[in-house]
């Protein structure tokens, strides 16, 4: 159905989008440098959430391992920053570990553009290999989810163990400049904020394109009935691998931007708890809607930072409680609530049915 009329709902939505985009890009005008930096970090998380929503919300595959893809992107960028901060010398932690020469695989990361490309390509490649072996062998549901958890444990153990190469538990930090600009200066921060906003917008539009295309419909069809899609003639494995790779690449992009804003990446930031938290952003914001996933990431992290300022211990209880409430009462997340508002002259699309998502 290609008919697109200018219904009231559509006009309100476009106005809403434009207002949100305008408010976002003008944020440096009304936010303090500290708050702006926080918001920039949340926007980076929103990119990760969009990727997770593609695979979980639209294709029904739950990955609890996106921290790894996020971390790989973050480490790629951090390696570049570390080399730039170290100048001609060896990065400090390598010296402490008794390393005399820069390891071969660190060398190309002297280039910003190589690092940026690697921050997308490495997570995507890892997802491709993992996806190839799991989806082609029809490993799905909880088994896939458990595999992604194993991936997290393997990766963090590896990063902690190889202290001389990765900085170990401390991770990589102590950055000074990015492309020659001082990384801590308000001007650079503002620029980085705009870059992040622009990337988020581009990613959002790309995801909308994917979801709106026939490929997006096939993804939802696979979520509803993988076998049925197979007997129509689609090969679900290639679609699942595709969406896993895209979502890993997006997590990598989010990770790279995260490091630029926060100035540190360590194995604990790609471990199990952050991986699960990412899924919660999507669940609470509203999976199966792109705007819900992105808004979920921003709002939850905003709540987290303001909550932790006053009650640092209570945050996890609050998050857990919120998750239970959403799962029990709002299966479509916060966005599902908005959907219940009756719009004037709304095009009726049959019953207001609950979409049955496969739970895992």
């Amino acid at each position: 159905m290609r008919e697109r009329s200018w219904t009231a709902q559509r006009i309100y939505m476009l106005i809403g989008y434009a207002a949100a985009a305008a408010a976002l890009f003008c944020a440096p005008l009304y936010l303090s440098d500290f708050r702006l930096n926080l918001l920039a970090k949340f926007l980076a998380f929103a990119i990760v959430a969009l990727g997770l929503d593609l695979i979980w919300g639209y294709t029904g595959i739950l990955s609890l391992g996106h921290g790894v893809f996020f971390g790989l992107g973050a480490y790629a960028m951090a390696m570049y920053l570390k080399l730039e901060a170290s100048g001609d010398k060896l990065p400090d932690f390598m010296g402490w570990s008794g390393l005399a020469n820069l390891p071969w695989f660190w060398k190309p990361f002297e280039s910003f553009w190589f690092a940026a490309a690697a921050g997308i390509a490495i997570p995507a490649l890892l997802a491709l290999v993992l996806g190839f072996f799991t989806f082609r062998n029809r490993i799905k549901g909880v088994y896939f989810t458990i595999l992604t958890q194993a991936l997290v444990i393997i990766t963090t153990t590896l990063f902690i163990g190889q202290q001389a190469l990765t900085g170990g538990t401390n991770g990589l930090t102590g950055f000074t400049t990015v492309l020659g600009y001082p990384i801590g200066s308000p001007d650079t921060k503002r620029m980085l904020f705009w870059v992040t906003g622009a990337v988020l917008l581009a990613v959002y539009l790309m995801c909308r394109y994917i979801v709106g295309s026939r490929l997006g419909k096939v993804l939802r069809a696979i979520r509803d009935g993988e076998n049925r899609a197979r007997f129509i003639g689609y090969n679900p494995a290639s679609y699942q691998i595709f969406v896993f790779v895209v979502s890993a690449a997006l997590a990598g992009i989010g990770g790279m931007l995260f490091v630029l804003h926060v100035g540190i990446i360590s194995p604990s930031m790609m471990a199990i708890v952050p991986s699960i938290e990412m899924v919660l952003w999507v669940a609470i914001g509203g999976r199966g809607t792109l705007i819900g996933a992105a808004a979920g990431a921003v709002l939850l992290n905003y709540a987290k930072s303001s909550f932790s300022e006053s009650y640092p211990d209570a945050w996890l209880f609050f998050l857990g409680g919120l998750f239970v409430v959403v799962v029990v009462f709002l299966p479509k997340g916060a966005v599902g609530l908005l959907g219940k508002i009756k719009w004037p002259k709304r095009r009726r699309t049959g019953h207001e049915q609950q979409v049955r998502h496969s739970a895992v």
Binding site: M1, R228, Y234, N235
Partner: protein
């Protein structure tokens, strides 16, 4: 029957599940344009034969030849579907969260690759085809409905519509009228007649009344083997068939009556 007009051939197909012989040495030849009914008591292996043809189950021995040359048992389900073998399962299986139109759209015969799906645009002809199909299955007013909200019968018709848009050369239907009201059954029979006019169809069916409405060849299976093949009258007159299938049914009926 010349081999040219044969579209599907099962040769000595045997299937085992953990040592249990579900199908033994089954032979089946389907002519181009034929409508064939596959009947037999529960557990006779009818559905398993369909599963073998569409690639869901791999036989331990035997061959399935499509158009006289393509060996189906070595291919994957989606490849067999692409070759032109459509399958309808017993329970209606549509995509509940997609609209009726979207269900039809993705079923339509087309390139199934990733890039093709990403770039696919609806042409005017496509749209017309979908609308015609919608009309044929009697859901023209429900194109924008979520398919999950349709009634049982409507779901079955939607699924038949999806299968037809796939433009298969061979259509495998598993109990298409199970659980339908009399009116729905009648309508499905009409649909089936239209479908069979253009392609070869194999129907697994329990409802003998329904089968009698069609003057077609019937294949009777019993305990995984071919028991008898012929017209409905021939089959009904056969003593063995009466014993294992029709007779047994009568006995069951008597038993259920006496215990009621």
């Amino acid at each position: 029957m010349s081999s040219k007009s044969v579209i599907l051939q099962c040769k000595e197909v045997s299937v085992e599940f953990d040592g249990f012989k579900a199908v033994t040495g089954m032979n089946l030849e389907l002519a181009r344009g034929e409508l064939r009914f596959l009947i037999g008591p529960n557990g006779a292996g009818k559905t398993t034969v369909l599963d073998v043809i569409c690639g869901k189950v791999k036989p331990v021995s035997g061959k399935v030849l499509f158009q006289g040359k393509t060996e189906l048992t070595r291919r994957k389900e989606h490849q067999i579907a692409e070759l032109g073998v459509g399958r309808k399962f017993q329970a209606p299986s549509i995509f509940p969260s997609l609209t009726v139109m979207e269900n039809l759209e993705i079923s339509m015969r087309q390139q199934r690759g990733l890039l093709a799906a990403l770039r696919a645009r609806m042409t005017r002809e496509d749209e017309q085809r979908l609308k015609d199909q919608l009309q044929m299955i009697g859901l023209e007013r429900k194109g924008a409905w979520r398919a999950g909200g349709l009634s049982h019968g409507e779901k079955q018709w939607l699924e038949i519509g999806m299968l037809l848009l796939q433009e298969p050369q061979v259509l495998l239907l598993d109990e298409p009228v199970a659980g339908m009201t009399d009116k729905e059954t009648h309508k499905t029979g009409e649909l089936l007649r239209q479908i069979a006019a253009k392609r070869s169809v194999v129907v697994v069916e329990h409802d003998m009344e329904f089968v009698r409405n069609f003057a077609s060849k019937v294949t009777v299976m019993h305990e995984g083997r071919l028991l008898r093949e012929g017209t409905m009258e021939e089959v009904q007159r056969d003593a063995r068939v009466a014993e294992v299938y029709l007779g047994k049914r009568r006995v069951e009926l008597d038993v259920s009556r006496s215990t009621a």
